[in-house]
Amino acid sequence: MGMQGIFGEGVDRIGGEPVAARMAKKAPLRHLDPTLLIITFTLVAYGALMVYSATAGKQESAGLDPSAFLNRQLFYVTIGFFLLLAVSFFDYRHIRSFTPIIYGATVITLIAVLIVGEERNGTKGWFDLGVYDLQPAEIAKVIVILAVAAFLAERKTDLGASDVAGALAIAGIPSFLIFVQPDLGTMMVFVVLTLALLVLGGAKLLHFAALFAVGLVAIVVVFQFDVIEDYQITRLTSFLDATPDVRSEGYNQAQSLIAIGSGGVRGKGFRSPDTQTTLDFVPEQHTDFIFTAVGEQLGFFGSAALLLLFALLIWRALRIATMSRDLFGTLVAGGIAAMWAFQVFLNIGMTMGIMPITGVPLPFLSFGGSAMLANFVAVGLLLNIHMRRFLRA
């Protein structure tokens, strides 16, 4: 069997009818999940306001358009929405048949970015496309969910050691390529979503015990043989230091914590003066540290509301996982839920000093195109699975 066989047969005809024609008739818009869409757009709107507050002051003082970042973010959202429509339009089982090609292209792209990519903050992970910087690792998250889900779905929850190994290999290749960029945060997301997919796919306790052992050995190897740079170890461990030196690796974390803490219960108010946010204290605030803008300006109420929105989003994704007509849909939805949940944990945890500083964005809130597009594709997939839950398997 070829690649096609590994991922399972694609379905382009159901009941003798071409998929597209059938879908136009049967994939009913009335089975859409409007709650998921509402949550998504609430998050996006929330994020856009925060990106504006985190960038407008700096832009103004530099004599530039204060809305530049906001407009750009809204542009990404618009593109993302069209992607969402496109992705939810075709039956996801049709998408499944293209998975080997998409996966192969993703791996090639990840190799290419190591060779011709742009380096930022020591990580080589971007293509400079002139008007837009593409970060393939963000897109790869969704692709890997699709690829691993397609592989595992074929095994129908009766997983042997070789199946687990196969799934790990599929996730492992892009993970490794991202690891050498190096982008440890995104790699951690890959690890977690793969574990979640294995749990959903029916891997046994014994498999996880073995994985744990292998993981331990890998960590020892990484630290013993200087596979990662010293600064990365420092960055990963500085969060353990309770009183970080403001001039050191703990600087971002200190500023971030101060911003969130000084928000208190009610916050200082949206775009209020004298905040770390409007004064541009927190580096990368509009991207990875966007949560500090929420915490400082809108306080505990605003932060808790945001967490609630994310919880609703995850709940929706898991609910779709339970409702899916097939295992592939369940795996994809569950994988997306795990991806978002872990990113929220890693990102917000980082801003509050309980997780290391990594370049993992907050879904739908952080400024940035690649992540926004990938997340809209994920929503599209969820809607797709949800809409077709009653179709014959």
Binding site: Y251, G261, P283, A337, A338, F345
Partner: protein
């Protein structure tokens, strides 16, 4: 299937709970502590709302000043002379602790000093013109420039001070850095530049060679050894010592050899005066073995083994306490090698003690504080760290140092028309590395106006050929000549 999804769901809920618990802690329980943190913006706005006083040199060049901005922070700190005074002024970072004079005289500069004048009170009641005091340093910008230019690309330091008052007239260390980006309101700019300075390494440009780094002083230390020998009462300038080809060290089969690898005079014996003039290692090795306690006490009186009382602080220069079973090290200590390590400023103080009739002046940077709004001035009195040796012995050592420049190893520092006293040093550093070049000097010998200490790490551009006389003496001469012109002595 349901069961697996539930498992994953529970794990994800646990992640959310962890974040939520921490959110409660950060924004509710610890919020007030965090808000009062020094790096918080409100504290910073206050810090930059007062027009901080300027730092000026004795020739009235502004080397740190506050410039009005239109932003939220009313005043921005700038350092017009860039790297020239960086180690002296230090810098006022946006987030974090100030360094150098900015830190040492922060109360005066920020106008929060302990003494409150009527004018201050009036300013505060009327809410008008609140500003800090100016700090005038004893540094002369023209001499400072000559120090920088003399060092050129060489890693090292030059310290020049007035031996009677202890006022430092020039103190430059290479490499230096630009304090302006470090004081930027843009913390990203500051952080990026800070990281390029390799802040965690001991050789970072942030660490001033003159005051913060110690090196074996080599033969310049013989001035201190000679002083100790005279103070012990056991030796006179004409006391004679054996002049062997090599000095056999006790307890081992090791020997201490001279720089030339032969005896110093070839006559079989040598007197103390000649030994200093031609920098005879074996003689000072012998003194190191004979009066180790006197040398250690002398080192202590001249400032070793504790931080010098300079306003901006210094590293500790070290003279080891060598136990009996490591006796050979005492011979090396006598010639400023082994575990002896000194800052350039410390070596300047040794020369200053000789120049100042035995009294060690307290080195200082502050010339006066000027309360601009009230027009008052406060000026510190010169102080001494104590008497290191008698005036008679200081005079004897001075004569030896004059001979060094007249007809010894330091002839490159000779200046037409005046007597210069000096001592060279060519110090062994790490195995295989080129020697450090040192020179300490003062002039004129009969009425010392300026002490200069020069240190060039690993001989600078001269490499393996470097000696103190070749590399460092001409630099000291340049400083002495310039100060003579500037102050007409």
């Amino acid at each position: 299937m349901e069961r697996q999804i539930r498992r994953v769901g529970i794990a994800l809920i646990a992640l959310f709970l962890a974040v939520f618990v921490q959110l409660n802690y950060v924004q509710i329980f610890a919020a007030s502590d965090i808000a009062n943190n020094g790096a918080n913006s409100r504290a910073l706005i206050k810090k930059y709302s007062v027009k901080r006083g300027s730092i000026v040199t004795i020739d009235e060049v502004e080397i740190a000043r506050s410039v009005a901005t239109r932003g939220k922070y009313k005043y921005k700190r700038t350092y017009p002379e860039g790297e020239l005074f960086a180690h002296i002024t230090g810098y006022l970072p946006f987030a974090g602790e100030a360094t150098g004079v900015e830190a040492a005289f922060n109360d005066d500069l920020s106008g929060e000093g302990g003494t409150l004048s009527m004018q201050d009170l009036q300013d505060r009641l009327l809410g008008s013109g609140e500003r800090g005091d100016d700090v005038m340093l004893s540094i002369d910008s023209r001499l400072q420039e000559i120090a920088r230019d003399s060092l050129g690309e060489n890693t090292g330091a030059i310290v020049a001070l007035d031996p009677t008052t202890g006022e430092i007239r020039a103190m430059y260390s290479n490499p230096s850095f630009d304090p302006n980006p470090l004081a930027s309101f843009n913390t990203g700019t500051a952080e990026d530049y800070y990281q390029t300075l390799d802040p965690d390494s001991g050789t970072s440009p942030l660490v001033a060679v003159a005051t913060r780094r110690t090196f074996p002083p080599g033969s310049t230390f013989k001035v201190l050894t000679a002083s100790a020998a005279l103070e012990s009462g056991r030796f006179q300038p004409d006391s004679t010592f054996p002049d062997p080809n090599e000095l056999e060290l006790p307890l081992t089969n090791q020997t201490l050899t001279n720089y030339s690898n032969t005896a110093c005079t070839g006559s079989g014996q040598i007197d103390l005066f000649t030994a200093l003039r031609i920098s005879c290692d074996t003689t000072f090795g012998i003194i190191g073995l004979r009066v180790p306690d006197d040398i250690r006490e002398m080192a202590g009186r001249m400032g070793f083994n504790e931080s010098l009382p300079l306003e901006i602080g210094t590293a500790v220069s070290r003279f080891p306490n060598i136990p009996d079973d490591e006796e050979p090290l005492r011979a090396y200590a006598g010639i400023g090698q082994g575990e002896v390590a000194a800052t350039t400023l410390q070596m300047a103080l040794i020369a200053a003690a000789v120049a100042n009739g035995g009294d060690v002046p307290v080195p200082r940077l502050l010339h006066r504080i000027i309360d601009a709004s009230a027009g008052t001035v406060s000026e510190p009195e010169p102080e001494t760290m104590g008497e290191a040796m008698s005036a008679q012995n200081a005079n004897d050592v001075k004569r030896m140092m004059v001979a060094v420049v007249e007809s010894g190893t330091g002839t490159n520092a000779r200046i037409e028309g005046i007597e210069v006293a000096g001592k060279t040093g060519t110090a062994q550093s790490a195995e295989g590395a080129n020697p450090h070049a040192w020179f300490i000097a003062f002039a004129p010998a009969n009425d010392p106006q300026l002490v200069v200490a020069v240190f060039v790490q690993n001989g600078g551009s001269f490499g393996a050929e470097a000696t103190g006389g070749l590399v460092a003496a001409p630099m000291a001469k340049a400083l002495l000549e310039a100060d003579r012109r500037l102050r007409d002595w």
